[in-house]
Amino acid sequence: MQYFSQMVGIPVYDSKGETLGRVKDLGIATGEVFPRITSLAFKGTGAEPFMISWRKYVDSFSDSAVSLKVPAEEIRFSFLQPEEVLVARDLLNRQIVDTHGLKVVRVNDLKLSQSGTNQLRLLGAEVGVRGILRSLSPHLENAVVKVAKLFGTDIPENIIAWSYMDLLDKQLKDVQLSISHRTLEQMHPADIADIIEQLDPRLRSEVFAQLDVAQAADAMAELNEDQAAEIVEDMDASQASRVLSEMNPDDAAELVNELDYEKAEALLRMMGVKEEQAIRQLLGYKEDTAGRIMTSEFLSLSPEKTVADAIAAVKDAEKDEREMTNYLYLVDEHKKLRGVLSLRTLLIKNDNEKLSSIMEKELISCNPDTDQEDVADAISKYNLLALPVVQEDGKLLGIVTVDDALDVLEEEHEEDLQLAGAPSTNDKDNGAGSHELRRLMTNQMWFFFWAAGALVMVLIGLGALASSGVPLGEVAALSNAGAIAGIAFLAGGWSGVLAMPIALLMSDSMINYTTNFFIEHDADDEDKPSMLSFIAHGVGSAFIYMLLMVLIVLGLLLFMANSGIFPIHVPVLFVGFLAAAVTVLISYFTSPLYLNVLYKRAERGKDTSRLTMRFISDLFSLVLFVGLTYLFCYLAFAIGLVA
């Protein structure tokens, strides 16, 4: 016996061999790493299933039957104990959190393991494809696994152990608390945030409700602002304000900024005065400035104090869980920043030394209006864990910590990548519409070129047709009457529309090929392949693509010629694809030009945007393609292929 799906429905016999019913469900003791099966539920002739103790009554079991120790009359039915879970009712087919793989998954089957003749344990939940196939039919599973083997791939089982499961169902939550296993509560806030991002809105709120305020606040800080704002809007106001107060003011300010005005005001008013003030102050600074991401939670002391005082202050601060106590900031009576001490310095100095004598007076700091990117650069340049933010008059306002600086750098990097035309790595970005459009433009530029080109070609075709005097509605019917040139141009245009994406996409891939070559090989690289091999390689692969395409097109043409699907003469349809093939070849022959430009500009220390190159090469390909299509159209017409 290995799987629950195979055990459901097998008959249950009593000691006299009489059938009592069929297996319906199994109860497990939740307090173990591999829970024992403690109860057996079977369905007899009645509507309701019976439950009996597994340990007391089950004598043996096999793939095809469960036998009990006693005759039917001596069986006493039992009830589900509070720490028991029914696997079919509560686990099978449900969504659970895999706290190890950090994913939300659905349970497709349950894997059991036999120990002794009558002991059964739950090994874990099968969440992979094999569970689905097995539930459909074990034969299907076997067949698919064998076929996959033939192709050299192995479909592994995907089992999640009981100790790595977290049930989402609220009622079952209480059961879980009695077990020592890794539930959501014990996970790192960043991991919790990852899981929350995968959940439905309802479950999301439920999971949040299970966390205590501190955890909720930490997890909230790890979510992206849009999602955090959504959750806050769904929470009830008092809970939301508690979570916000618990968050670091800089994270809270970012979140509040995403909320709509009324909700934000209401929440701010419900918070403690101190927290509200801190957040409002941060919100007062412009976006993307140091003021926005700084935290007012730092440790400051007078320079007149001694090392012993300072260490005591650090210990105190650690108790209230300040954001960061890596540095001690020394301020005078006017709160002006005088110096900085690292914890390390404190540790190695004598207790009675005065802070003013050991502090670092060469201060690196920024203004609240400093650009975030500059702040991040400074932090990374000087290898700091935090950077103080001071007013014009030298008053210490707050600090920017390294984790916030990292976020900034990551965002900037992302933006730079997008400018360079690389696909965005941040899929969850739901930025403004223009941003979305720009992303689409940069990633799918060919599509816009195609749309524009298609429009032009159809217009030219219609124009040609109009000038030849054939009414539009009769094109399909008109196969051998006059004005063939017009039709040829229209039909050629249509085939061009179909084939154009090939030319454009290949021109994009040519630019990718070129830039990748450039990135991999420096200009003065010794083992850099020669220009000739660069061209040969590129053109060669393009040539193979073209051969493949011609093969496919020929096949299609033959098929169409036989079935008469399109009301246009076959050779003209070929025109677009021929033009695409030639365009791609020529476009690959131009690749050394782009490569040279790249090297030349790099020599002069300039950056080249991949986007611009793509634009130029797409434009070139488009013009070439349109020209070639009509040239071929004309040739086909001239040599009488269209008649």
Partner: protein, 436 residues
């Protein structure tokens, strides 16, 4: 998208406040805001439901049988309310999608059956949407093998980038052009007495054509995908059990609007195409004739715009719904927020459905208007299967708690199921006996 989200959140928030101080007199304004806020999923589903297939079916009904099918509108409205109210309620109470519920209550095998049915039905429906795009665009002189691949790629990009929500409003507006039928209905000056008579007194012709149309009528008015769409919208808005009453209002308004539009399409086509002996409609140009009294020469432009808008809306919504439902049932990652690597199944299903539809529509052996009709018949056949799942879940106390189906509601649902099954069987028997 943002503004919609805010509105709903305001609604749920307001619902909570209202619950807290139920006795307070200032509720009136709140309640109004609440109803407005809740007017979402039901109405959206209803308008999206009046798609290419719908227009084709109703136009054919009017053209072939005049006013004889008008009685179906109140009946369908009733069926629609039954299906959609239950779906919305299930969403409110459980916070889970319909596919997820089917899986949890019925296990792998039966979910497989249900998802198979949904995949077939929705693929055909998507196909019919592209057929709608093709016939709509053909009114502007754009041949299908240009319009359809372009539409296909555009829909693919929109669905997978998740940015279709931005275009949704534009498409909804375009789809609302079909409201022109209401005006056209008045302009043709039909015999209102006749119309009223046929609306309330059922007329059934025992011919296969009539029954097939009736079947298609059911399939398009209460399309299976609308149930999934409705429930997932409700779940997405995180409406709790306390917002059930407002979802009811929303559902009823949506159903009535949808039925009214279909009634007017039947009326307008019945008053123009039927007397002209057009017979079975062959293409969009013929269907557009019904709008001639309103728009004159611009009728085909108006009809074309409306048809393309409605079809594109459907084409954007359908593959996503299908794929989400299947992924939800089998526990795979889903949603446009995931990359291909994270959610391969989701992306593959959407792409396959789209590619299938585009290729099938381009096959010139098939009559576009026929495709739209066939899809609706298949829907009609698959609908009872899904409705049986639905009624079972909705009357389960363990799932639905206090909000489970009342006996009357369960009875009505079963009545609808039996009626649809009987119709299906009659249709098949007639076709089998060669009465066609």
């Amino acid at each position: 998208m943002r503004s919609r989200k805010l509105k709903t959140n305001a609604a749920t928030e307001a619902a909570r406040t209202q619950q807290a101080n139920n006795a307070a007199p200032k509720c009136d304004r709140l309640r109004f805001a609440l109803i407005l806020g809740a007017l979402g999923p039901g109405l959206l589903a209803a308008i999206a439901g009046t798609d290419a297939g719908g227009v084709a079916t109703y136009s054919n009904g009017g053209s072939l049988f005049g006013f004889e099918m008008l009685w179906t509108c109140p009946v369908m409205c009733f069926f629609l309310i039954i299906a959609q109210e239950t779906a919305a309620r299930m969403g409110c109470v459980t916070g889970k999608g319909f596919a997820g519920l089917i899986r949890e209550e019925f296990g792998v095998r039966l979910s497989f059956l249900a998802m198979g049915a949904l995949l077939v039905s929705n693929s055909l429906e998507t196909l019919s949407e592209f057929a709608g795009v093709a016939s709509g665009m053909s009114l502007f002189g754009v041949p299908p093998f240009i319009s359809v691949p372009i539409a296909g790629i555009a829909v693919w990009l929109l669905t997978l980038s998740g940015s279709y929500k931005r275009v949704e409003k534009i498409l909804l507006t375009l789809a609302c052009i079909l409201v022109a039928y209401v005006i056209a209905g008045f302009l043709v000056q039909p015999d209102w007495g006749d119309a009223a008579y046929y609306t309330f007194v059922p007329h059934i012709e025992p011919t296969p054509t009539y029954l097939a149309l009736l079947m298609a009528n059911i399939g398009t008015t209460i399309a299976p995908w609308m149930i999934f769409f409705q429930q997932s919208n409700v779940v997405g808005k995180n409406a709790g059990p306390d917002s059930v009453p407002y979802q009811r209002i929303d559902t009823c308004v949506g159903a009535i609007v949808a039925s009214a539009i279909s009634w007017f399409i039947l009326l307008a086509t019945g008053a123009t195409l039927f007397p002209a002996h057009v017979g079975e409609i062959q293409d969009a140009a013929q269907a557009a004739m019904a709008l001639t009294p309103l728009a004159g020469n611009a009728a085909s432009t108006l009809f074309g715009l409306g048809l393309v808008g409605a079809s594109l809306l459907g084409a954007c919504v359908l593959p996503g719904i299908t794929s989400s439902a299947i992924c939800e049932a089998f526990g795979w990652e889903e949603g446009p927020n995931h990359s291909f690597k994270e959610a391969p199944a989701y992306h593959i299903i959407i792409s396959v459905v789209l590619v299938f539809s585009v290729i099938m529509v381009l096959n010139p052996m098939l009559n576009l208007f026929d495709i739209m009709m066939v899809a609706q018949v298949v829907n009609g056949v698959l609908l009872p299967i899904l409705m049986i799942y639905m009624v079972k879940i909705a009357s389960d106390k363990r799932v639905m708690g206090a909000h489970r189906n009342s006996k009357i509601w369960t009875g009505l649902t079963w009545f609808a199921i039996v009626a649809i099954i009987c119709l299906t069987i009659t249709l098949f028997v007639m076709q089998f006996l060669g009465l066609a």
